[in-house]
């Protein structure tokens, strides 16, 4: 881009760098406005009588075409023994652009990993549902489900703790299977 100063000194209207575009002149049909008139009205009428796309929300559920890529409420996955899969590596918290993941790590009581999250909270009000946490997680412990109608009566209620996130998993594990089995060995810890 030219700076303002150079523009003032060099940009004259006969400058060769200016690409003058002539607006195409309308034809007779365009100038008579009749064609536009008919076009506009037919378009409106066609939509007027067409099928409506509204989803009557509380009664009808919005159909999500592909739950595996939908970014709704988070869940914390469980491994095959029902334990939280997370290894408290903090990658999701680091990746999160909204800084809404808060993890307190503790030494793991299990032999297959060093750490586990003693507490794991996500402030769903601050979350922008970008899915970065899901991308970052090395053991596929955190995932975004296709639950979209998230509501609560207070701010505190919207800060989801570990129990709640795990319960979201229990609720949605049939509707949306865990995405991959990548890291199953490390995360699930079947005694490898």
């Amino acid at each position: 881009m030219l700076t303002h100063a150079t523009q003032r000194t060099t940009m004259k209207s006969d400058d060769r760098n200016i690409n003058w575009v002539q607006e195409p002149r309308l034809g007779l049909a365009g100038r008579s406005y009749l064609l536009l008139f008919v076009q506009g009205l037919t378009t409106t009428l066609r939509h007027f009588f067409s099928r409506k796309k509204t989803v009557q929300s509380p009664e009808q559920r919005h159909e999500i075409p592909d739950p595996s890529i939908y970014r709704g409420v988070h869940r914390l996955n469980r491994d095959q023994r029902g334990r939280v899969k997370c290894v408290a590596c903090f990658l999701c918290a680091t990746a999160c652009p909204a800084n809404c993941i808060d993890i307190v790590a503790a030494e793991s009581p299990w032999t297959d990993r060093e750490k586990y999250p003693q507490s794991f909270t996500i402030d769903e009000l601050r979350c922008i549902f970008c899915g970065m946490c899901e991308e970052a997680c090395p053991v596929d412990a955190i995932e975004l489900t296709s639950l979209y109608d998230l509501s609560g009566k207070s701010r505190e209620e919207m800060v989801f703790d570990k129990e709640k996130l795990l319960s979201v998993y229990d609720r949605t594990k049939d509707a949306k299977p865990m995405r991959t089995s990548r890291g199953e060995g490390r995360g699930a810890g079947d005694g490898e």
Partner: protein, 406 residues
């Protein structure tokens, strides 16, 4: 029944009816907007505190309550008196214009109470009906200017200047469009204009299509509807003259806008679409019995509703005019067309019968042929000359030697 009581009764019915109509037209407008956009529109609010939905028919009540219970806040910088006067002025003017609009025809007295024929208008038989509507209607500009001025906010003021220029410009074609009808009818009374059309069975739109087009376009502009809605242009131009208004005062502006639209629809129907007349249904005598009179009311209101529906569909059909285009349409197209229409109608009124005789046509048939011919010619001439094409883009040939940038 004493005349005063009769008038009061009519006023009560008219005011109540109009307010209800305006409220429900808001709902209709929202429905149509939704349907055109493949949505369903408001369909939830029904009877309060129950689950009964009634297709959203409770929405106007909810809207009204919302407007009335909004915090009444007056911005600090406004001119206090004018700030209050403006919405009242525009509302009263919009309401008052309906006094002479006939909502049906004359009916003969039934047994109860009425001693003369009942005319279904608040001020029936006002000889200068059309003039009255024009005079009162022009006060709307006053409300717009005052609203913008009193707000003491430059965007409001720009909006007011913009819309007053538009309203004043389009009053000329509006008047010219009506002039043809008045010349043909020979009366300024709205009742007479309808009766004349009913008697001959030819609605004015058939014989004066040019006047109809001019009047319709001007009526759209006067009512501030898209594609001429620069007074507000809610989406793009900072609300216009009522930017600083809220609550009840904003509601008065909004309701007046709908009243303008209803009035425009009534005038289009009465002047050009035959009022309460429909062939084979309503007859043409002035005074009739109750059932026929009721039928006429129904026919009239159905036509008005049809025109209003067209108003609402038009909103979503065509893009808004740019401001210079808006002015050019008024001054370079509509006013010349209106003048041509007046000349043609006047000439035909004077010489039409002689001119039609050699071809064995009735005066109305001849007028229709001439009218449509003139419309076609005008349209063609306008298309070829294209007076509204004035690019406001920078042009190379005009700007080679300019020093504007320094």
């Amino acid at each position: 029944m004493p005349p005063v009581l009769e008038s009061l009764l009519k006023i009560a019915v008219l005011v109540g009816g109009l307010m209800t109509a305006a409220a429900y037209l808001v709902l209709v407008e929202r429905w149509i907007a939704a349907w055109v956009q493949d949505r369903l529109g408001p369909n939830r609010v029904g009877v309060p505190l129950t689950k009964i939905r009634l297709f959203g028919l409770g929405q106007p009540v909810a809207d009204g309550v919302k407007f009335l219970t909004k915090g009444e806040f007056t911005p600090g910088q406004v001119d206090k008196i004018l700030y209050f006067v403006a919405p009242v002025a525009i509302f009263v003017a919009a309401m008052a214009a309906f006094a002479v609009v006939p909502l049906g025809s004359v009916v003969l007295p039934a047994s109860w109470g009425f001693d003369g024929p009942v005319r279904l208008a608040v001020a029936p038989g006002l000889d200068v009906g059309m003039l009255y509507i024009f005079a009162v209607g022009s006060v709307a500009v006053y409300g717009v200017v005052l609203g913008g001025w009193a707000s003491n906010n430059k965007y409001s003021f720009f909006g007011a200047v913009r819309s007053s220029a538009q309203l004043i410009s389009y009053e000329l074609p509006l008047g010219l469009g009506i002039l043809g009808v008045i010349l043909a009818t020979g009366s300024l009374r709205l009742d007479n204009i309808i009766v004349e059309q009913a008697r001959s069975g030819t609605w004015n739109v058939f014989v004066q299509p040019l006047g109809f087009v001019v009047f319709c376009v001007a009526a759209f502009a006067e009512a501030g509807r898209l594609p001429f809605d620069l007074p507000e242009a809610e989406q793009e131009l900072v609300g216009g003259y009522h930017t600083e208004y809220l609550g009840v005062k904003l509601m008065l502006f909004m309701v007046s806008e709908f009243l303008h639209m209803i009035l425009a629809a009534f005038l289009i129907v009465i002047l050009f679409l035959g009022g309460w007349h429909f062939w084979g249904l309503t007859g043409s005598a002035e005074a009739v019995s109750w059932p026929v009179a009721l039928l006429r009311v129904v026919v009239l209101l159905a036509k008005v509703m049809g025109v209003i529906l067209f108003f609402m569909l038009a909103r979503w059909s065509w893009p808004r005019f740019r401001y210079d285009q808006l002015m050019e349409v008024a001054w370079k197209v509509m006013i010349p067309w209106g003048l041509i229409n007046v000349v043609v109608v006047a000439t035909w009124m004077e010489y039409g019968v002689q001119l039609a005789r050699p071809w064995n046509l009735s005066a109305a048939q001849g007028m229709a042929i001439v009218g449509w011919g003139v419309l076609l010619l005008c349209w063609l001439a306008t298309t070829i000359i294209d007076p509204t094409a004035s690019g406001n883009r920078p042009r190379r040939d005009l700007s080679v030697n300019d020093n504007c940038s320094e």
